[in-house]
């Protein structure tokens, strides 16, 4: 294999932090501080060692995968857009839909120039003529801060393809990539039936590269320090670092940068360790899975290992469920939220998810006369894989993992009624919940 590494100027010994290096406690990192720490944005030309295709080669060799949840190889996605009919569009997805994730928000509010560098590099690599950065429409302060950062960059002409800020609705399904594409095309922010996928035909019918903002931030560093540097962290099969959001019963909840492959238990320890005896971990967010704490502790945080353990990496979310909380009640709350957030497009999701949410709520809060576990499992089977997007599948994965991880609890609830722990204060962040109960 040819040597793809760009001259590494960094010590190979100090591996982390990478993205979060130099992050100020509260303030946005200015363009000057950003360039001082990481060096100027590498200039890519049209031919030779600096041609667009070579940047894609470097990304390919780095083994970077999408950090928004899908985990698809970034280089391959870029290549398929670059090989399209031209006039490509780059969309940076910074509209974090997962209530339990904060990493994209952290990047955009503190380290915007990493993300903006990444957008410009991606636009160059796929020869795009248009670039968007999508954030939640209601984040007015964030928008103002990003406008400032973009204005700073304009004075030194850093972004040859102008980056347009775009606000999208703050709904759970609105940040799915085909939903963003449809919204940028003037339609509703709802997922579309595919194929064609966005990389084939996206914004205004052009091949469209949709990347999570963390993926683009990694791209900004890979373009500077090379693929070999990137691979010095993480596993050979899952190289690099990733941002994770750790919350629940931990002493110091927050966003942490880890090497991929770090055991889940060690990630919890990074966040100060469990604040109470842990019963289970929710790994991967609302489309992830519950894993019993004991078996989750040694599982490496990467797509392959978590999938093998019945979980998912998702957007790098870890929530510690303490022994004092009821996993079934927490799941019921999340499924109710996901049912409410369905896009009202596909029948099985529109009718099936509310039915599933009812059944989960019955199991958690009322008990089920010995029949509710079976009813939950039946309904899960009826909605699994039957939507245009993966919304119903994600909800089903969470429900099934709950029935596995809290098997004994589920039997107790089903036969004897709710356990005492359902009275504990809710743990998982579920937006708008107060509206349902009039609290």
């Amino acid at each position: 294999m040819t040597e793809l590494a760009l001259a590494p100027r960094r010590s190979l010994e100090v591996r982390l932090p990478r993205l979060l290096a130099g992050m100020a406690y509260q303030d946005i990192v200015s363009l000057r501080d950003h360039e001082q720490r990481h060096g100027p944005l590498p200039q890519w030309g049209t031919s030779g060692r600096r041609r667009p295709g070579r940047l894609i080669d470097v990304v390919d060799a780095s083994g970077l995968t999408g950090r928004g949840g899908g985990g698809f190889p970034t280089g391959r996605k870029m290549r398929s857009v670059a090989s399209g009919p031209g006039g490509a569009v780059v969309v940076a997805n910074g509209a974090e839909g997962e209530p339990a994730s904060c990493k994209d928000r952290l990047l955009l509010t503190r380290l915007p120039h990493l993300v903006l560098d990444g957008i410009t590099l991606a636009a160059h690599a796929v020869r795009a003529r248009t670039a968007y950065l999508c954030i939640h429409g209601h984040e007015i302060e964030l928008r103002a801060a990003l406008e400032d950062a973009l204005a700073q960059r304009r004075t030194v002409d850093l972004d040859p393809v102008p980056i347009q800020l775009h606000g999208i609705p703050g709904r759970y399904v609105a940040s799915e990539q085909s939903a963003i594409v449809q919204y940028l095309n003037g339609g509703p922010a709802k997922p579309m039936f595919s194929p064609p996928r966005p990389h084939q035909r996206g914004v205004r019918g052009r091949p469209t590269l949709v990347h999570n903002v963390e993926t683009l931030a990694h791209l900004a560093l890979i373009a500077r320090f090379g693929d070999r540097w990137f691979r010095t962290a993480g596993l050979p099969s899952a190289p690099g670092s990733a941002l994770v959001t750790v919350s629940g019963a931990v002493r110091r909840p927050g966003v942490y940068e880890i090497e991929l492959g770090t055991p889940a238990g060690q990630v919890v320890m990074l966040a100060g360790g469990p604040a109470e005896r842990p019963a289970a971990l929710l790994v991967g967010g609302f489309f992830g899975a519950w894993l019993p704490a004991r078996s989750a502790w040694p599982v490496p945080m990467c797509h392959a290992a978590l999938k093998a353990a019945g979980g998912a990496m998702g957007a790098g979310i870890v929530v510690v469920l303490p022994d004092s909380a009821c996993g079934l009640a927490e799941t019921a709350r999340v499924i109710r939220y996901l049912a409410d957030e369905n896009a009202s497009q596909c029948g099985p999701c529109m009718f099936g998810l509310p039915a599933l949410a009812d059944a989960m709520a019955d199991l958690a809060y009322r008990g089920g006369r010995g029949r509710m576990v079976e009813r939950v499992a039946t309904l899960a089977g009826l909605v699994d894989g039957r939507g245009a997007c993966r919304h119903p599948d994600g909800a089903v994965q969470l429900v099934r993992s709950a029935l596995r991880a809290f098997k004994a609890d589920a039997r107790w609830h089903d036969q004897r009624g709710p356990c005492l722990r359902v009275a504990r204060a809710p743990l998982l962040p579920v937006p708008c919940e107060a509206d349902w109960y009039g609290a």
């Binding site: 039936f193 029948g347 009718f351 099936g352 009826l382 039957r386 245009a388």
Partner: protein, 70 residues
Amino acid sequence: MSYELRVNPIACDGHGLCAELLPEIIELDPWGYPILMSAEVPRGLVEHAKRAAAACPVLALTLDTYPERP
């Protein structure tokens, strides 16, 4: 040629005609939306599948053709 059925779940309104015309492959869920027992259509049912796809009032059911797999 092999034939495969595909439901566009966004377009589908649960009219249920497809299940009437092709009960061998399509059944309805409790809310009236079609469940395909297999996407691939056996040779003997291709004509029925074509009729079912043509009967869908919202064109949500499509019959795609693929060159025979080795």
